[in-house]
């Protein structure tokens, strides 16, 4: 079945298009919407976006390969972005990454067989004063140690299992990370 944007995604895209003087400028935001809906960006998704924005599919392909956040294969429900750059490195960022890899029994760049986690070794994520750190979705996890990692992974896995029970088979959560129309959370960073 060819991919299609959901009604909600379409609405978002319509709104996005009003914010730029041409359609091409909406490419990154529309790709975010597509990836949020489909979970990744297979060829059909690229074609859909290209058609919608009247761009050559090759251009869209060239763009997604330039940016690290767009991916061509399915990721786990929880993407763990673990920083190992200088500030984190000095305070044990690599130990945290190795610990997570061991605990989940995968290497950075891989996804757990159950689809719960993908681990990504990230570059600096702008929380250097709270190193070592990682991001998962909307959440920053700061000043990490092994005990904190244990608690975070347990909690994420439990929530993932609950969500799995709730979601219909095959039905993704269409708007799991999209911004528009979402109120701001609190601002405490640490």
């Amino acid at each position: 079945m060819p991919l299609e944007f959901s009604a909600q995604s379409k609405q978002l895209i319509d709104r996005l298009l009003t914010q730029y003087p041409n359609k091409q400028a909406a490419l990154l935001p529309v790709l975010h919407v597509a990836q949020d809906q489909f979970g990744y960006l297979p060829d059909e998704a690229l074609e859909l976006v290209a058609q919608m924005l009247e761009l050559p599919p090759a251009h869209v392909f060239g763009v997604i390969t330039f940016y690290t956040m767009f991916h061509r294969e399915k990721h786990g429900r929880n993407e763990l972005l673990v920083c190992t750059n200088v500030s984190c490195m000095l305070r044990g960022g690599y130990d945290i990454l190795r610990y997570i890899e061991k605990k989940l029994d995968i290497k950075a760049g891989e996804t757990t067989p159950d689809g719960a986690f993908t681990v990504i070794e990230e570059e600096c994520l702008a929380a250097c004063a709270n190193a070592p750190m990682m991001i998962c979705g909307n959440d920053y996890f700061l000043d990490l140690n092994e005990k904190k990692v244990d608690a975070i992974l347990d909690d994420l896995r439990r929530r993932w299992q609950e969500r799995q029970k709730m979601e219909a088979p095959g039905g993704g959560d269409p708007n799991r990370r999209t911004l528009m129309g979402v109120g701001g959370p609190g601002t405490k960073t640490s």
Partner: protein, 447 residues
């Protein structure tokens, strides 16, 4: 005025720690949007003059005078864009993210004033893609400001003052450090790969969508409301003769109390490490520090009495000058000789237990990963630096590696479209100069 006199002045962090500081109601209760009202009673050119008087210099790394940059917009420009650089990805730098999270309305007000001064009707905030949480906070703030009548196509704020309409769009990046470079950022915002453009033309003449454009950092614009309220002279007096205001410094690495601090311009690194951040943990000795994000050459433990400023650091005679070719755009280093700068304010402190060669190798790996690949010296050179540095760090170095690293770095600097080439070459040469013994020690271990 010495830096001690400005110790307690807070401009961009004044609302930090206030409950609900990200909400419009709290912001206006605390005097928010008053500067904007005042601005609308003045002619636009007077605002640019006030910013010139303030000695405000860009906080994105290059330290370019903000008022001067604003005045580069051609008089005949019909469409003007203001773009906020909220891409913060320079390793060691973590200020803009906190500024966005705690006080998004201060940024919006700064943008509104700047837009009025520049004649901009639609401004964009380019926010780093990974900052999902901050993006939500900023979007919510934009929505509130629209609803509150401060922004929007339909709204004409300025009862009593000049009429004014401004739209602000939040645009998320998608993970590419190079998109922090202003021309790469514009390409990315236009829906292209984030490839830096050749300059000239400079963005002020031909920028976003081929129109006159000003790109400013988050912290830079957050200073503008207070400059309008309290005056450019007040702001200038807070700082040093060459740079007005205060400075956000983010300190990380081996200190007892790392954090993001608003400090007086010109404070010495010694005071930052030992007073503000409580010194080095575990009774260890300081080995060195990176003064302004990972693209800045490091300082060693004997050099911490220099003040945190833009130019004061640029006088180390030990580092051999790199030939700078005319016409090569510089914005991280201002086209000056190879020394060091307080850049983006990211101070990374490391103690004597640190494997400096491994640290340097990690930095080189970063730039190799982030090179956009347009220029051969940068694309090949950064990868080469990373490989040689990594093998040295692993104790597998080969005779001549230290000289080789210096040669490669010299081959990159000055020969590329954008300053990412220098961003790798400078710290490489800096580490080699300041910590040469560490590199040679690794080499001896390998032999």
């Amino acid at each position: 005025m010495s830096w001690q006199d400005a110790k307690d002045v807070k401009i961009v962090t004044k609302n930090f720690g206030v409950d609900g500081s990200h909400k419009l109601s709290v912001y206006t209760e605390r005097g928010g949007w008053q500067a904007f009202r005042k601005a609308l009673t003045l002619p636009p050119a007077a605002l640019t003059d006030e910013v010139k008087k303030s000695n405000l210099r860009g906080r994105g790394g290059a330290g370019f005078p903000t008022g001067m940059k604003w005045s580069f917009i051609p008089k005949e420009a019909r469409t003007v864009y203001l773009v906020v650089n909220a891409d913060e990805s320079e390793p060691g730098t973590c200020k803009d993210r906190e500024l966005l999270a705690y006080d998004p309305h201060l940024l919006l007000e700064g943008m509104a004033i700047a837009s009025y001064a520049l004649g901009c009707k639609h401004a964009y905030i380019y926010i780093r893609g990974e900052m999902m949480r901050e993006a939500r906070i900023v979007q919510a703030a934009i929505d509130e400001a629209y609803a509150g009548g401060f922004l929007g196509k339909e709204h004409a704020v300025g009862t009593g003052g000049n009429p004014f309409k401004l739209e602000i769009t939040l645009h998320r990046g998608a993970g590419a450090y190079i998109c922090g470079e202003e021309t790469a950022l514009l390409n990315s915002l236009e829906g292209k790969r984030g490839w830096p453009r050749l300059k000239p033309p400079f963005p002020a003449v031909k920028g976003l969508f081929q129109q006159a454009t000003i790109v400013n950092n988050v912290e830079t614009l957050m200073n503008v409301p207070d400059i309008v309220t309290k005056g450019g002279e007040w702001f200038a007096r807070l700082g040093t003769p060459k740079s007005g205001g205060t400075r956000i410094v983010c300190v990380s690495g081996h200190v007892k109390k790392p954090g993001v601090f608003e400090l007086p311009m010109g404070i010495p690194f010694r005071d930052i490490i030992y007073d503000v951040c409580g010194g080095i943990p575990g009774g260890r000795a300081l080995k060195g520090l990176i003064p302004g994000g990972s693209s800045m050459p490091p300082l060693d433990a004997n050099e911490i009495d220099v003040p945190v400023e833009f130019d004061a650091l640029m006088t180390d005679p030990r580092i051999k000058d790199v030939e700078v070719k005319p016409g090569v755009p510089f914005d991280m280093g201002g086209g000056r000789k190879l020394k060091t700068m307080a850049g983006s304010g990211g101070v990374v402190v490391f103690d004597d237990s640190t494997d400096v060669v491994a640290l340097c190798a990690r930095i080189m790996r970063f730039y190799a990963h982030e090179s956009c690949g347009q220029c051969t010296p940068c694309r090949e050179g950064t990868g080469w630096l990373a490989r040689v540095c990594t093998r040295l760090a692993k104790g597998q170095g080969e005779a001549g590696d230290v000289e080789l690293l210096a040669n490669i770095a010299h081959g990159i600097a000055g020969n590329t479209i954008c300053p990412l080439g220098e961003a790798a070459a400078w710290p490489m040469l800096g580490f080699l100069t300041k910590f040469r013994a560490d590199f040679e020690h690794k080499l001896r271990k390998a032999a």
